[in-house]
């Protein structure tokens, strides 16, 4: 029925053993976690500096007042959307090959969405007044909508990670005897007394289904609302009615790339060749081509329509991109980070794990810089000229603290994903077994 899952030679005991063995705190993972923690602390020192001296430690100024923090926020929200596409859209359509990947996609979703919320705080001039948003929040402001949907998305994604994991948590509780005491206790509490009877499975499946349906509009909302932070303004380059779908389609490109990278490293480090197969990479590569094509289509619309109309401010913005000030970055991102990679993936050898992972890294980097291209150039072309200002206010280059604080967000994502993958099996064990039994029949 399905060549992706060719585990007829595996027994249930073997599956348990293979997939539970990554749940430990072995030497290698300790080194990796310490490395992440130390890097994070170094980066956080720069955030301390920013708290002391104000946002003046960044390269931001009155004309580019949103820089790489906001670009990075958009990127993180975008990447987190993949959880919805893989576990929900494909899951509800009964696409069975994604089942072993669903948990990795949810890990990516939860980690990126959580950290996106933190990135917004690093961009605030007065983070000490964060509570004002709840005390004085106004429904007219897209920021308030954004906070509402991001928080909801994090909550539902966490549940979507947790609830289908109940049988596996129970398995950890029953089988893992040499883990620390607190961890055993944690499994016991989190398993909610799971015993694996039919009634429990029925309840779990019902809840999961509700969440899978709920997550679709919410995921669409988070990125649409994020695009509205720009589209709701009167600035040329942002003032675009297709920004919502344009952002959502771009989100799937970044997300697919992130999942492929995560798949690769989990497969290598946890020795999961039998579970994350070459065929999985091949199919993820095809999915990536599909979403990249949709994104290219939106890019063409976003460029050609305003670019055709000469003399408007929007056209000026497009011309800046195509052959003006921003053209080098624009073509690097569009060709190098999107078009050439997806053309390469059309060839089967490029969908092998290693080349696909490398191409995905290029795509992910392109996706990041694409967000900078969306956020920054518009602000450098205001309706009224930039005059009587310091020389450097006519351009924007991020400073070391700004880059370090941005790096901290990536480190935090890796940290969250690593810790979760060390506490729980990254492949849904019970679903693999179910599939196996199903195929045997």
């Amino acid at each position: 029925m399905n060549e992706t899952i060719t585990k007829e030679h595996l027994t249930e005991e073997q599956i348990d053993q293979d997939l539970l063995k990554n749940v430990n705190w072995g030497g290698k993972s300790k080194v990796w976690l310490s490395f992440l923690t130390i890097s994070l602390i170094i980066c956080l020192y720069y955030y301390y500096q920013q708290l002391q001296n104000g946002l003046g430690v960044t390269g931001l100024h009155d004309y580019v007042s949103w820089g790489i923090y906001i670009s990075n926020f958009v990127f993180f929200v975008a990447t987190s959307l993949i959880g919805m596409l893989i576990s929900s859209v494909l899951g509800l359509m009964n696409v069975s090959w994604v089942k072993p990947l669903a948990r990795i996609a949810e890990l990516v979703a939860v980690a990126f969405a959580m950290v996106a919320g933190l990135i917004i705080i690093t961009d605030m001039g007065r983070p000490d007044r964060l509570l004002n948003v709840f005390i004085h929040g106004r429904v007219q402001s897209p920021i308030v909508w954004d906070i509402a949907v991001v928080v909801t998305y994090v909550a539902i994604s966490t549940l979507l990670l947790y609830i289908p994991m109940l049988p596996d948590i129970a398995l950890c509780r029953d089988k893992l005897k040499d883990v620390p005491k607190w961890q055993q206790k944690m499994y016991k509490i989190l398993a909610l007394g799971w015993s694996g009877n039919a009634k429990q499975f029925k309840i779990m499946n019902n809840y999961t289904r509700i969440l899978l349906i709920l997550i679709i509009p919410i995921a669409l909302s988070i990125h649409t609302v994020t695009s509205w932070l720009f589209a709701m303004t009167l600035r040329s380059g942002w003032d675009s009615p297709i920004f919502g779908p344009y952002f959502v389609s771009g989100a799937f490109v970044a997300g697919c790339a992130a999942v492929i990278i995560a798949m690769y490293f989990f497969q290598k480090n946890y020795k999961l060749k039998d579970y994350i197969t070459v065929d999985h990479f091949d199919r993820m590569g095809r999915l990536l081509v599909l979403v990249a094509l949709v994104y290219v289509y939106f890019n063409i619309n976003e460029i050609i329509v305003p670019g055709y109309k000469a003399n408007t401010a929007d056209a000026k913005h497009v011309h800046e991109m195509l052959y003006g000030h921003e053209s080098l970055m624009f073509w690097l991102v569009q060709l190098g980070g999107l078009v050439i990679p997806f053309l390469l993936i059309l060839f089967k050898p490029m969908r092998k794990p290693l080349p696909l992972m490398l191409i995905s890294i290029v795509i992910l980097a392109g996706a990041w810089f694409k967000r900078v291209l969306i956020v920054v150039p518009t602000q450098l072309a205001p309706y009224y000229p930039i005059q009587n200002e310091p020389e450097h206010w006519t351009s924007y280059s991020p400073t070391v603290p700004e880059i370090a604080i941005t790096a901290a967000s990536f480190i935090l994502v890796l940290l969250i994903m690593t810790v979760l993958a060390k506490l729980f099996p990254v492949i849904p064990i019970w679903e693999v077994k179910e599939e196996l039994n199903h195929n045997k029949k």
């Binding site: 001296n53 007042s65 009224y384 000229p385």
Partner: protein, 297 residues
């Protein structure tokens, strides 16, 4: 300090046995430093207290001109604005010679660093005549302000008298208003503001937006503090060239800051083919521009 004042005021009022209950705004004479002195002159005046009560007190007990120091009162007054007014500005571009006295007066009143502008005099290209002209650009105090719509915490708001202000006690520094303003009228305190130590003890008055605070947005306030006292804005009275008119649209009168001549607003706008900046955006500015033309002199 505010509490002490409150108490002494209450005691004083009780001893006089006067307490009206009517909500009238207006007078800038405030029952601030009134003393416990018993010598009365016999001349009574009506004044408005911080809790909006109209009371009659002896003039000997008043120290006129003392700025009130109660933050709560200043915040309330700043948000409400002046009833019955609709402030407008008219900028005569034909008269501007880039003297920049307006910018200087503005920056010194609002404690701004040299790169921060509530008011910026720009050199604009005139593509038709292939010349350039000087254009002072302030906040346009739009009647449909995009900055106010996007503010997540109601830190920036539009008052009944048309002035758009910012409360830097509430601003979270997200800079959405900066991004949303098509006129680039707003500026941000990226670092510790100028003279922040000197002004540390001063009570914040949002009508002047001083003291400035690190991590908050600041903007042109149409000199709401001056306007409250019936004076012209700092920039308007500093101009040596008669560029600025300021006044009340409801009265249909504006006063030139240099000549102090008061003229009919509607006639000034009609006679000179006045326009607003980027009317197509639908922001409905309160600042009108009279087009640059060959100098009349």
């Amino acid at each position: 300090m505010a509490n002490k004042n409150d108490k002494s005021r209450r005691k004083f009022l009780q001893s006089l046995g006067l307490a009206g209950a009517s909500a009238v705004a207006g007078s800038a004479l405030l029952l601030q430093g009134c003393s416990e002195s018993n010598t009365a002159s016999g001349n009574k005046v009506k004044v408005l207290t911080a809790d909006n009560k109209l009371v009659e007190v002896d003039v000997a007990h008043l120290k006129p001109g003392d700025k009130i120091q109660d933050l709560k009162y200043l915040q309330k007054r700043g948000r409400e604005g002046i009833p019955g007014k609709k402030f407008v500005m008219v900028v005569d571009l034909a008269k501007c010679k880039n003297a920049r006295k307006c910018m200087k007066a503005c920056q010194s009143a609002h404690q701004l660093k040299p790169e921060m502008h509530h008011l910026n005099v720009l050199e604009m290209e005139d593509p038709v005549r292939d010349t350039s002209y000087w254009m002072p650009k302030t906040c346009q105090h739009c009647d449909n302000p995009p900055c106010v719509s996007v503010c997540p915490v109601d830190a920036t708001f539009k008052r009944q008298d048309g002035i758009v202000l910012i409360d830097n006690e509430r601003c979270i520094g997200c800079r959405f208003c900066v991004a949303a303003c098509p006129y680039s009228a707003r500026t941000f305190n990226w670092t510790e503001p100028k003279n922040s130590e000197k002004f540390a003890e001063v009570t914040y008055d949002m009508e002047l937006n001083v003291p400035q605070k690190k991590g908050t947005v600041t903007k042109c306030a149409f000199s709401a503090d001056q306007v409250r006292e019936g004076k012209l804005p700092y920039c308007v009275s500093a101009c040596p060239n008669g560029v600025y008119y300021f006044g009340d649209q409801n009265e249909d009168l504006v006063t030139n800051g240099t000549t102090k001549k008061t003229v009919r607003l509607s006639q000034l706008l009609d006679d000179n083919a006045a326009y607003t900046l980027m009317p197509e955006l639908g922001t409905k500015p309160s600042v009108y521009y009279l087009p640059p033309r060959e100098s009349e002199e």
